[in-house]
């Protein structure tokens, strides 16, 4: 590993100052769960590391019944998993975090770091996109907001510029008559997912007809993708397992997987189809329960 200058940021403002001064030669490090591997392999050799891990102002979870949730970018996976408010009002996030990597990674890795790494098979991105999240970014020009669905540009690439920081993620409260689910496929437990799916299903008052759906897939393209063909095929449709099964067959219209050492592109599409179906069905069940007035999530 090449030597580098190490600067520990004292505040968000200080971090932005340093980043402005150092320009493209500086790289931000939060939990370092991915970055250290990259540095060790020599894939990146920055002159300067700006350590933002200690910025307490970005480590928070806030819930407001009216407007929804805010999670600071430096909140660890373990904090999200342990958050009682998220467990009770957004169970899908906890269920994603419970199976994210290993306990060591969850204890040190941060949600913002996970998203900024932009690994196409990230656990977190699909479920946060399905929840309708917004990324909050600060830079020398001030603050800006980007829908999380537009946050990812390609493999390991996001809209966050070298001088900018992702500061928080926000998403609205889950509406009534709605279910959100998440599932991932991997061959070895504790390993990164091969394919991830998250589904958001809102129903009409009849408890059967789909009013709104988001199906977000990871691991099947250079970024997380919305399976829009699947969503469109189900809108206004009275949901049945057969209808979901048939619509899930359209996943490949939104995916562009590439073969790798783990499996073929075709296999990723097959798994995406199975996971889309499974997550849609479980979100549907949860939404039905919500319509029926049962406690859910």
């Amino acid at each position: 590993m090449k030597d580098f200058e190490y600067i520990r940021a004292r505040s968000v403002d200080h971090a932005l100052e340093v980043l402005a001064e150092k320009g493209e030669s500086a790289v931000k490090i939060a939990g370092g769960q991915s970055l250290l591997n990259i540095l060790k392999q020599g894939l990146m050799a920055p002159d300067c590391l700006v350590d933002i891990k200690g910025l307490e102002e970005l480590d928070f979870i806030e819930s407001n019944p009216g407007t929804g949730f805010r999670i600071g970018a430096l909140t660890t996976h373990a904090s999200i998993l342990d958050s009682e408010v998220l467990q009770s009002s957004c169970g899908v996030l906890a269920s994603m975090e419970r199976h994210l990597a290993t306990v060591q990674v969850r204890n040190w890795g941060t949600i913002g770091g996970n998203l900024c790494m932009a690994d196409p098979s990230s656990d977190a991105a699909p479920v946060l996109i399905a929840l309708g999240s917004t990324a909050h970014i600060r830079g020398p020009e001030g603050a800006r907001e980007v829908p999380l669905g537009e946050f990812f540009l390609g493999y390991y690439e996001t809209v966050v510029q070298p001088g900018e920081l992702l500061t928080e993620i926000s998403f609205p409260a889950i509406p009534p008559a709605t279910g959100v689910s998440y599932e991932k496929f991997r061959n070895v437990e504790g390993d990164a997912p091969i394919v991830v799916s998250s589904a958001f299903v809102s129903l009409e008052k009849d408890g059967r007809t789909l009013s709104d759906a988001r199906v977000v897939l990871g691991g099947v393209a250079s970024t997380p993708v919305r399976a829009t063909a699947v969503e469109d095929a189900l809108k206004g449709v009275k949901l049945t397992p057969a209808a979901v099964e048939s619509a899930s067959g359209l996943v490949a219209e939104s995916t562009s997987p590439i073969p790798d050492v783990v499996c073929s592109a075709e296999y990723r599409n097959k798994i995406a189809r199975v996971l889309a179906k499974r997550t849609l069905l479980s979100a549907f069940e949860e939404a039905k329960a919500a319509v029926g007035g049962k406690k859910h999530r």
């Binding site: 591997n37 290993t102 070895v188 504790g190 390993d191 990164a192």
Partner: protein, 787 residues
């Protein structure tokens, strides 16, 4: 007789040091003034070295030395000292590189970064040669020739033939014949501690090397050979070792280069392989292509077997020729097949060398054997367990010219495993998607192999007893995490009749310990254990002689030691503390300390091993029919390891062996493309992790008495790597009715096979709902299902 420490659940003697982090491994070590070493490796799978210019690297500030083949004796080396035609590897490549990662030069510098930078400054001009990666292609006329020499033809470096009975006549006379082809892939040892060495040359030219190895004595004599030094001037110290599994049973380039660079610089030099080097440039499990033909009778009697294996040996022989022999040998285990023929071919390819790895050819053999046995059972409509029971080896089994099997508990292993798992109830009665399968194995307890050509006994032990009763046990065996030091302490304590905490085992320092062949082939419990027992008996005899003088009993009485006391066997209430007898013995011989010596070498034990262990494995799996993913539900293993020495140790070994086998079957695959390893990291190379370990894991111990072993003990923990692939493959077949012939058995292959099966079923029965297999009825007692 009830043993005092044998057969008990004993804590490892090194356990506390390891779990508290006190234990130091070679990677942890440092010496003042130490230099960091790095190796320059070939980026090409096959090339001739035209020239090397290291001047810019030597000129880089901080660089202390750069070595190439010109700084070596250019000798070939390897474990095959008795068979020099198999020695094909140089410490640094003198003229040609044969795989991506082949070592060309080494640098010693002030720190790792400088050493790495220096590597980039070494200019090597290559003439790129055509390469070959598939062993069958490599055997064809016109294929690139990776090695030339009188013993190599079309890249075949070694062939092995095993034959007994009248195979052709038996095939003519049998009722049915089944022939199948299988292919087996490469996996990595993936030890947590990489290959690592720290070498120091003293002012008098003596060399000390601390290194992560399974074979300190081999490293000593092979360093002596390659460096042109007397063995006596080399001291090899093996600190705690973070795993070996066969990947550290040879002299490696880190060891040679650290030693050579320390000679040249006069400073300590440390070399630690990166994880990428571990995956790409060290050894791997041998990939094989197997053709298997078995002849059998309608009643399930196996009468003839013919096996042909082509091994993808990689760029050098390494220990591949032993895997070549053992895979053919263990192909027939644990079955009594009277007519058998094996032909094996060890073939060079431009990939990293294949070598020894836990099971040493056995896992490949048993995958093919167990898979085919289940196909034969299906053909005959027999329960696969019954087919196995009908054809087992029995105690006293002899294969003339090859081996004698004294103790053999395979039948009890199968019956115990069947009973424990409810085999008869479950087999054929589980829901579609869940299945149960069996695999069986036999394995060696140390090899009768003296490739290294040593005049020393295979194992030796020395015990010094001090006047306060503490016993210092010196053995050359290698504790590499398998629990060997604990076993030696137990055997010494049991034989001496003193508590475990009065024993200290010192192993793996060639300046202090007697030579021993080291940790491979499951040899230490039997071989070093026998030497320790003999040395302890020698000590005890000396103590009892003194006690006899002190206790003044009737001369017809005899003496023994137990619970720290010397007692009169015929009058057990008459005792003295053994320390008193030790003191008396020392005084009686003018102050000379009591020393006991022992040794062991197999004699008249055939060509393979002095004793064989056996076992049966039953796995229950769930297969997700939509994704092809396999989950382990229940795992039961019954193992015959003779007398259990440490029950905790055996359990740990069995569990570890299973999980390693589980990875071999379901997830691990050291993939290459044009000779380049595609997944040289733990991110991309998929080992099983703690959450993958089956929660329901049952270890059943079947105790037999092995007359050749210390207290009747034999192998435990390597053999169980062998049956997992076939066992899980058979369970998958039972679950969803698909048979995978090429390893690893990935979800993708299972799903593809399920789809193929569905399509075929759809074609056969037009109009009917295509079903992969009739959904089964829920489990219920077998009798009721018959109407």
């Amino acid at each position: 007789m009830e043993y005092s420490v044998l057969g008990k659940k004993v804590r490892r003697v090194d356990g506390a040091a390891k779990v508290t982090g006190q234990a130091k491994y070679t990677v942890d070590m440092a010496l003042p003034g130490m230099l960091a070493g790095k190796l320059l490796r070939s980026p090409h799978p096959h090339a001739r070295i035209v020239s090397i210019d290291a001047s810019a690297a030597k000129a880089l500030p901080g660089v202390a030395a750069v070595i190439t083949a010109e700084d070596t004796l250019k000798l070939t080396f390897g474990n095959w000292r008795r068979y020099p035609h198999l020695l094909d590897e140089h410490p640094l490549a003198p003229d040609k590189v044969r795989f991506i990662g082949d070592e060309i030069a080494a640098v010693a510098a002030a720190d790792e970064d400088t050493a790495e930078e220096a590597l980039t400054l070494i200019e090597v001009e290559y003439e790129i040669l055509p390469a070959v990666f598939d062993p069958v292609e490599a055997m064809q006329d016109g294929a690139p020739q990776i090695h030339t020499g009188p013993n190599v033809r079309n890249n075949v470096s070694e062939t092995r033939h095993i034959e007994f009975g009248d195979v052709d006549a038996a095939f003519r006379a049998c009722d049915r014949i089944r022939e199948d082809d299988f292919s087996l892939h490469a996996v990595s040892h993936a030890a947590m501690e990489p290959h690592a060495s720290l070498a120091q040359t003293d002012t008098d030219g003596r060399l000390t090397i601390w290194t992560s190895t399974q074979v300190p004595y081999y490293v000593q004599i092979l360093l002596a050979h390659t460096l042109g030094m007397p063995e006596g001037k080399i001291r090899v110290i093996r600190p705690h070792v973070g795993g070996g599994w066969g990947g550290k049973i040879e002299l490696f380039k880190d060891q040679y280069c650290a030693a050579r660079l320390s000679q040249i610089t006069g400073k300590p030099v440390k070399i630690v392989y990166t994880r990428e080097e571990e995956f790409s440039c060290t050894r791997r499990r041998t990939p094989m292509k197997y053709h298997l033909k078995t002849g059998y009778m309608k009643d399930g009697t196996l009468v003839a077997k013919e096996a042909r294996a082509v091994l993808d040996g990689g760029a050098y022989n390494a220990m591949g020729p032993t895997a070549l022999y053992l895979t053919g040998f263990f192909q027939m285990f644990p079955y009594d097949i009277p007519n058998y023929r094996y032909d094996g071919f060890h073939v060079y390819t431009n990939k990293n060398p294949s070598s020894a790895m836990r099971g040493f050819g056995g896992p490949q053999a048993e995958f093919t054997c167990d898979s085919q046995l289940d196909m034969i059972a299906a053909d005959l409509g027999m329960d696969p367990a019954e087919l196995r029971l009908r054809n087992l080896m029995k105690p006293g089994h002899e294969i003339k010219g090859y081996c004698k099997v004294a103790s053999c508990g395979i039948e009890e292993c199968i019956r115990k495993a069947m009973k424990s798992t409810g085999w008869k109830k479950k087999r054929g009665n589980l829901q579609f998607g869940r299945g149960i399968g069996m695999g069986c194995y036999g394995f060696m307890s140390g090899g009768v192999f003296n490739w290294i050509n040593t005049p020393y006994a295979f194992s030796a032990a020395m015990i010094r007893m001090s006047v306060d009763g503490f016993a210092e046990v010196y053995v050359g065996s290698a504790e590499i995490g398998q629990g060997s030091d604990t076993v030696m302490a137990q055997i010494a304590a049991e034989t001496l009749g003193i508590p475990m905490d009065m024993i200290r085992v010192t192993s793996g320092d060639t300046a202090v310990c007697p030579p021993d062949l080291g940790a491979w082939g499951s040899r230490q419990t039997l071989m070093t254990g026998n030497a320790v027992k003999m040395a302890a008996e020698d000590v005890k005899k000396q103590v009892l002689e003194a006690a006899s003088g002190m206790m003044e009993q009737n001369i017809v009485y005899s003496y023994d030691m137990r619970d720290g006391k010397v007692f009169v066997k015929e009058r057990p209430d008459r005792t003295i503390p053994y320390q008193d007898a030790v003191k008396a013995a020392v005084r009686a011989r003018g102050g000379l300390q009591i020393v006991g010596r022992g040794l062991y070498t197999p004699h008249g034990k055939g060509m393979v091993s002095p004793a064989f262990s056996f076992g049966a494995q039953v796995s229950e799996v769930d297969v997700d029919v939509e994704t092809g993913k396999v989950s382990m539900v229940n795992v039961t293993t019954a193992h015959d390891c003779g007398q259990v020495i440490n029950e905790l140790g055996v359990e740990g070994q069995l569990e570890g062996a299973f999980v390693m086998g589980q990875g071999y079957v379901l997830s691990e695959n050291l993939a290459t493309d044009d000779g380049k390893v595609l997944n040289p990291s733990f991110v991309d190379y998929k080992v099983m992790r703690a959450p993958d370990v089956p929660l329901n894991f049952t270890s059943l111990m079947v105790e037999t008495y092995e007359p050749e072993g210390p207290y009747g003990a034999k192998e435990a923990g390597e053999g169980l790597t062998n049956p997992n692939a076939g066992c899980i493959a058979n369970a998958i077949y039972d679950a969803v009715g698909v048979r995978i012939y090429d390893m690893p058995i990935t979800p993708e292959k299972i799903l593809a096979a399920l789809e193929e099966k569905k399509a075929a079923a759809g074609k056969k029965k037009p109009g009917k709902k295509p079903a992969a297999r009739k959904p089964r009825k829920p489990a219920r007692p077998a009798k009721k299902t018959r109407k």
